[in-house]
């Protein structure tokens, strides 16, 4: 068991690094949101980023795609230093993201939303090609039949799909997914899991933040656990789920109760 897990881990480690965070830190006033964090996303892999509320997961996404620069550390993507690069330039490098709170352009159609993604993505496509890329991305997430629908008319699940389709339209090498399963019903969740696998199989690496643990554990090749902005653990889903520090962060400290018992 342990040996095969180790072998699997070594196999992943031997892959090519696509995104590298090197000792990245970010502070907001008195809060150290991200604390000396290093992590690697390899080509073709799904890396799950998990941790309790307030662990710093979304901040990590914002540091990668340039919403704000890190105070310290370096972000490297496909061997290029992208630390502090503006979001639109990061998108040009080949990183696309979704947002936890969906951000559709409500008045535009599904196709036009995705076309915007294609125009501002990795390649500066002319409109016709951008539309073709947009339609293909919409098809991939199962919105192919709703290209002409106004985005605001989509259901929650539909808007989640659109968020992914617009990111995919940018033809990224790396896709950052921020809680794409939140608020979906069980059937929609299963469909979305299938879609995420399909995207990875098309050769796009994925870094995903997800609270639905059953899903993130089954989808991820590797997992990084954040707690209080720092890396608490990393490894295969199995290794992480068995890690005592992770169990303590999620289930609570068992020694607190013992201490309370002995003091009262």
């Amino acid at each position: 068991m342990a040996a095969s897990a180790m072998a699997a881990y070594a196999e992943v480690a031997a892959m090519t690094a696509l995104l590298e965070l090197v000792s990245v830190s970010k502070r907001f006033g008195g809060l150290q949101a991200v604390d000396n964090l290093s992590l690697t996303v390899n080509e073709g892999e799904i890396l799950g980023l998990i941790g309790p509320n307030g662990a710093g997961k979304s901040t990590v996404f914002n540091l990668i795609n340039g919403v704000y620069p890190p105070d310290k550390g370096q972000v490297r993507f496909a061997s290029t230093d992208i630390t502090g690069m503006k979001p639109h330039l990061v998108a040009r490098q080949g990183i696309a993201r979704t947002h936890q709170i969906v951000q559709p352009l409500g008045e535009l159609t599904v196709l036009d939303n995705c076309t915007v993604g294609a125009c501002f993505g990795q390649k500066n496509l002319p409109l016709g090609q951008a539309q073709a890329a947009a339609a293909e991305a919409a098809e991939m997430v199962g919105l192919g039949g709703r290209l002409g629908m106004q985005a605001s008319a989509l259901t929650t699940a539909g808007k989640k799909r659109l968020e992914m389709a617009r990111a995919l339209s940018a033809q990224p090498k790396l896709l950052l997914l921020d809680e794409v399963l939140a608020g979906l019903n069980p059937t929609e969740t299963e469909q979305m899991i299938t879609t995420v696998r399909k995207i990875r199989d098309s050769g796009i690496a994925i870094l995903m933040i997800e609270h639905i643990m059953r899903a993130v554990m089954s989808l991820s090749d590797r997992i990084v656990v954040l707690n209080l902005g720092a890396k608490l653990a990393q490894g295969t889903p199995q290794q992480v789920a068995e890690n005592p520090e992770v169990i303590k962060a999620y289930l609570g400290d068992s020694t607190l109760m013992q201490a309370a018992e002995s003091s009262s």
Binding site: N53, G183, M213, I247, L251, D253, M257, A259
Partner: protein, 238 residues
């Protein structure tokens, strides 16, 4: 034998098109302490909000003392004795202990029993009596927690529903919570407790529900639930 006080059946609820509960059910018997456990985002607070009336469920029902109270407002439920101690305590920090307790006794029924109730509360928590003129904001975290629970008791609850009091609090405050909850248990108060620290909740309560992805995942007497390996699965997915 059993005296069913509160029953939630197949609750569905959510916010702004994002559904959180997908058929959540639970029961609380009079005189017991029941805990609702689960990972972040599993739907614990939403369950409490749907039960207490802060959020109207889109499906399912809430039975309280044999009456369907699903459609009642939060204050109407509170007046019937379904009382919530909210997450983050929500004390009136510029007011004294005594004033906070008086505000807990807001409903006509609670006002009727005010004298009896405040004596009992001060007996249960002598520390609050000693400091009755002190402003709540000057209290330590542990004392504020005790006051939040005491204020809930002033509403003359049939059941006290307590949401994540130890959230983000220092270990010493968590230990204080243990003392406070033991006092409630000794006084025979019926409690539904949401608590982040699973070990603490399972050690103090009688019965546990574990919620995952908005529906029941596991339930049973706390000692049995504590021994089940599946509980880790509810939090960690594996």
């Amino acid at each position: 034998m059993s005296d069913l006080l509160l029953q939630a059946e197949n609750l569905e609820a959510g916010y702004d098109g994002v559904q959180v509960l997908w058929g959540m059910s639970l029961k609380v018997e009079r005189g017991t302490m029941t805990t609702l456990l689960g990972a972040n985002g599993a739907g614990k607070t939403t369950t409490l909000r749907a039960v207490t009336g802060a959020l109207r469920p889109s499906a399912g029902r809430v039975m309280f003392r044999g009456e369907d109270v699903t459609a009642l407002s939060a204050h109407a439920k509170a007046a019937r004795g379904l009382v919530l101690v909210p997450e983050g305590r929500q004390l009136f920090t510029d007011m004294t202990v005594q004033e906070n307790l008086e505000l807990g006794a807001y409903s006509p029924r609670a006002r009727e029993y005010f004298k009896r109730q405040i004596e009992q509360v001060y007996e249960l928590f002598p520390r609050l009596k000693e400091r009755r003129s002190q402003k709540a904001g000057t209290f330590s975290g542990g004392e504020q927690q005790m006051l939040a629970i005491a204020r809930g008791l002033m509403a003359v609850p049939e059941i006290l529903i307590i949401d994540e009091l130890s959230l983000g609090l220092a270990p010493v405050v968590v230990q204080q919570l243990v003392v406070t909850l033991k006092a409630l248990k000794a006084a025979g108060v019926t409690v539904l407790l949401v608590e982040q620290n699973l070990h603490l909740a399972l050690a103090l309560c009688d019965y546990a529900y574990v919620i995952a992805e908005g529906r029941p995942f596991l339930e049973g007497p706390c000692a049995e639930v504590a021994a089940k390996p599946e509980i880790r699965q509810a939090y960690l997915g594996l």
